[in-house]
Symmetry: C2
């Protein structure tokens, strides 16, 4: 008799549930980009893309890493007409001392992308398989983060990233407005420069004229329809020297929502002398559940909150910010997101005048934004070990 | 001395202003679709597409009619990420008696598409050149509306159309959220069946849960972001047997806006005994300036309005409709749009109950919807001569 073997049964791969990393095939680009200094590749797409296709009847195909190339899309396909598209953005970074590459909390991007897909009538997938594929893809493309022979930057905080862009698009050629029967999942990447954290000038929008999102809409989903319509207002603001729009909501209450495509935080002291770090809540579905936002909140609650400092998610109006400024209680403000990281705000354009926002907390050597940014940097660069940094093998 | 010649100087074609029909080139499809009965081609795309490309520096390229084929789009291009896309829809129809093909008010589609392009940060073009190109394209593809040898339909009102779909998409490969520097204009077409005007069942949305558009948003522009996000709510409504959602806006006032992707009209008598044909106004920017909507309003004002019948554009709530129903004053309701044409509404699902909407006006042989539909049909089929019908040579 053979001894009985206790086996944890592997889950059966079901193509209607997800794509699977175990099914991944790789076709290497036969003309790989030649370079000695990867900084010359800035903003260029890398050599490969990861692709998986879905059909409502057959489910997901095996994912494949293939040479980066144009997609032959039918002119009638859903994404080009009805905005059936969503995306994610995250960064891979190489620690120059250890040579190791990390990405930051990819599980949160997986979960959010699934939510966006559901909102925009695209198929779902397993969060775990998404993360596995993302790590595999970075493993193939991490040479674009080469550090041997790379000239050290002047500022050691100034790191270049591999920006990772997963997208999902509806590919059914069909002129009727209907849920797509076919979709494509892609991961593409580009080397991008570290965001230079020049303090931002934000222009508060007029909620009678331009509104980014609405309760019952889709402001919490990372879908194309949240971005294209912001470009004209953004260009108009840029003509007046503003970096981004601070999106207000509701003509009466003028609630502060997002800064450009990033989340927004304000730090003020209350008339009673308490310090508050405040950001808009997720409850009304008008702002994005940012990975950086969530991380800032968690770190601030873990490491800053005390008797005299509170971290708060609640609705607040631009008039509260103006009042705090007028009463000398405004401590600082910052925007955060994958693209911006944690960027201090220097000025807020409100009702035709510019409010100067303090850049250093009163009497302290570092602002809250700087402190939190330093903590986050230590984590995603792998300088300190932390559960949020996923290491690429 | 040569006599002076008075010449009207032709406008100089400026590629930064528009594409031009005079520059059009045609490459015929070498494998044209073979058919004897064009009805077998239903929902298939025709043999050609019209394409013009734009770049911010060089302006518009010469437009070209080329064989219908997949578009090789860079995976990083704007339209796939940020919803930089807009479209139009219109129908070409062949009069079986005269053999002539007409399209309906293409100048209005040109104007609206320019507005949509502006809203979504895409380039503009000349309305006139758009119409000229559309007519040229239909001239090439009108064989898909062949009528010789075509079996007559049982119902003479039941006509097949060539559905024309102009689109504009942002094609710049660029991962940053920014106005595209490149765009593509396309016209594609498909033969589609006449909409079978089975009376519709509409489900009034809960404006706390699902909102199509909002003031300061982009509900008046024909951009992708207005369509993708409606698919999940629409599927949920379809599971309960509804054909479309009647989109309400504002939790308190519950204003009636659009029916699916069509405009909505209600006909009721006032307590004072006057008849009113009512639809939502364009003023708050949440509904589409429909070509059919506009035509219905114009014809109704021209041919129906009198001392006792008024045609009105104003905000109205679903509760007014319910009240009119309860008091026996609801005469009829209909949806209208290019896809639906003029479709009577049989039922409205409101707050968990279904309101039966009369399908025939009290005591009259034809409903207002039927009357207006007949007038519109006579115009676009070329049965009566009218300035709204553009004839294809």
């Amino acid at each position: 008799m053979t001894p009985s073997i206790t086996q944890t049964s592997a889950p059966v791969a079901d193509s209607h549930v997800s794509f699977y990393a175990d099914d991944l095939t790789i076709s290497f680009n036969q003309n790989p980009t030649q370079f000695t200094d990867p900084r010359t590749l800035m903003m260029k797409m890398t050599d490969h893309m990861l692709q998986a296709n879905w059909n409502v009847k057959t489910g997901w195909s095996a994912p494949a890493i293939i040479p980066y190339a144009p997609l032959p899309l039918d002119p009638a396909c859903s994404v080009l007409h009805y905005g059936t598209e969503c995306f994610e953005g995250l960064k891979a970074w190489r620690n120059k001392k250890t040579g190791k590459v990390h990405i930051f909390r990819p599980d949160l991007n997986a979960r959010r992308m699934n939510k966006s897909c559901d909102r925009i009538a695209l198929p779902s997938f397993s969060d775990e398989e998404f993360v596995k594929l993302l790590l595999k893809f970075v493993q193939i493309e991490k040479r674009f983060l080469a550090w041997e022979g790379e000239v050290e930057m002047a500022d050691e905080d100034d790191h270049d990233f591999l920006y990772l862009r997963p997208i999902m698009i509806g590919t059914t050629p069909q002129l009727g407005v209907a849920t797509p029967s076919d979709a494509m999942f892609l991961i593409i990447a580009s080397r991008i420069p570290a965001y230079n954290s020049k303090p931002l000038r934000l222009l508060a929008s007029s909620p009678e004229q331009a509104v980014r999102a609405w309760p019952g809409g889709f402001g919490a989903a990372k879908v194309g329809g949240n971005y294209g319509p912001t470009m004209r207002p953004m260009s108009a603001a840029a003509k007046h020297g503003y970096d981004q729009i601070l999106w207000l909501f509701d003509p009466e209450r003028r609630l502060v929502t997002e800064a450009g495509a990033a989340n927004f935080f304000v730090v003020w002291s209350t008339p009673a002398g308490k310090t508050e770090i405040v950001t808009a809540p997720l409850s009304n579905g008008t702002i994005l559940d940012g990975v950086t936002r969530r991380s800032v909140l968690e770190l601030a609650r873990e490491r800053l909150a005390c008797e005299s400092l509170e971290v708060i998610e609640r609705d607040f109006g631009i008039d509260e910010v103006v009042k705090a400024h007028e009463e000398g209680r405004l401590i600082e403000a910052f925007a955060c997101g994958t693209a911006f990281f944690v960027a201090p705000v220097a000025e807020l354009g409100v009702d035709g005048r510019d409010i100067k926002v303090p850049l250093e907390s009163n009497g302290k050597s570092k602002s809250y934004a700087q402190t939190i940014k330093k903590w986050l940097t230590e984590i995603f660069t792998g300088e300190v070990e932390h559960r949020w940094a996923a290491e690429i093998e």
